[in-house]
Every structure is written in structure tokens, then in C-alpha cells.
């Protein structure tokens, strides 16, 4: 009996969709590359003028990540693409959100614990962060999935020429 791991299952995208996704990924890479270059160049200048005092060290990188994530999402929605293997179902949205929130839990716990070495306050901070992350991810993935499904339906209903 052949056991096929889910990772090696057939892609749900055809060749045209795959080509479109690869183009988006390629553009996203160049966007990340150029924006990071700008962030690396600009941040020291702003810091030397004292404009970034009290603000997170990773502000520039965070902004770059947000811009690129937004670009990727918008382009995929525009091209009616979701993912190569994962379908936009509520179950999958919950799974992805859980993975994200678990990661946030561990990062938040470590971050808080390494500051004041208080286990209980670190756990509370981590739980709050993970919960916020989960709720935000679920809301966002559900919204994007519904937009994607609506656009897919419109594309299917479009009359043949």
C-alpha cells in the first residue's frame, strides 16, 4: 500500500495559475529586497537624529514585512489564487491561525521571561499575545477566503466568449 504524505499531493493549481503565483513570488522577493535595503540605509540616519527613540528596533523590518504581505495578499486575490495545496476552508483557516498563535506564544513568553524572569507574568503575556494573534488571523483569513470565493464564483459565472 502506497502511503503518500500530504506534502507530496498534487498541486491544486494548473500551469497558468502556477506561473501567475511564481510571478507574484518573484515580484515579492524583489520588493522585500529593495525595501530592506532602504530600511537598512534610512534607519541609522533616523536614529542618529534621535527620531526613533523609544520605538522598536525592528520597526523598519516590520513595516517592510507588512508592505510585502499586503502586496502578496492583494495580488493573489486579484489573480484568484489561494495556495498550491491548502484550500480556503474554515478548518484550514483555524489550523493556520493556531500555528501562528502558538509561535507568537513562545516568542512572547521568551521575550517577557528574559526581561524580568517572572514565569507567571510571562505566561499571561504569552497567552494574551497568542489569543490576539489567533483572533486576528482567523478574522483576516476568513475575510480573504470569502473575497477569494466570491471572485472565483464571478470568474466561473463569466459568460464564455
Amino acid at each position: 500500500m502506497k502511503m503518500k504524505h500530504k506534502l507530496f499531493e498534487k498541486h491544486q493549481l494548473d500551469e497558468r495559475q502556477e506561473k501567475a503565483l511564481r510571478k507574484i513570488e518573484s515580484n515579492s522577493f524583489y520588493l522585500v529586497f529593495s525595501l530592506l535595503l532602504i530600511a537598512i540605509a534610512v534607519q541609522p540616519i533616523l536614529e542618529s537624529h534621535g527620531w526613533l527613540i523609544g520605538i522598536s528596533d525592528a520597526l523598519g523590518e516590520g513595516i517592510v514585512l507588512l508592505i510585502c504581505a499586503a502586496y502578496f495578499c492583494i495580488q493573489c486575490i486579484h489573480q484568484n489564487l489561494w495556495d498550491r495545496k491548502i484550500k480556503p476552508t474554515p478548518k484550514n483557516n483555524i489550523r493556520i491561525s493556531l500555528i501562528g498563535s502558538v509561535l507568537v506564544f513562545f516568542i512572547a513568553f521568551l521575550y517577557k521571561y528574559l526581561i524580568d524572569f517572572q514565569f507567571s507574568s510571562a505566561i499571561i503575556t504569552a497567552l494574551l499575545g497568542a489569543t490576539a494573534c489567533f483572533l486576528l488571523c482567523i478574522a483576516l483569513t476568513t475575510l480573504l477566503a470569502s473575497i477569494h470565493k466570491k471572485r472565483e464564483q464571478q470568474a466561473e459565472e463569466q459568460a464564455e466568449e
Partner: protein, 82 residues
Amino acid sequence: MYVLYINCGGDFMGKNLYLKAARAERDWTQKDLAEKVGVSRQTINAIEKGEYNPTIKLCRAICRVLNKTLDELFGEENEDEA
């Protein structure tokens, strides 16, 4: 020669009316053809409109399903240049 022509770059080639005609011969919708070939309806639509340049693999699959040759559906003389 087919590989050089079919993959000669650029996404807009002009409408593929012979593909549309071959599909109409069998009274198939774009969705029917797409299901038989294993691609989305939008891909077949894009090929017929000349907006997408299919790979030789997909061309062969379409020809096999429609029982036509590559020349008949995707040959150079079949281009309807705008």
C-alpha cells in the same frame, strides 16, 4: 519547431479560433474541456483569447482530448493576429 514557436515568449498571441471551433465541434463548453484536460476554465478561456501561451505538455493534452494534431490547433498558420 513546435517548441520554438509555442514557447516563443510573450503572452498575447492572438485568438485561437481553431481551438474554439474544435471544442464547438464536440459541443463542449470551456468547462467541459477544462475538466477533461485537468485545468481551470479560466485557463482554457485565456488560451482561446490568446492571453496565455500554454506549454507543449498542455497543448498535447488538449490535442489528445480533441483528437486533433498540434498543427491543426496550435500551428503558425492558425494564428489570428490582431
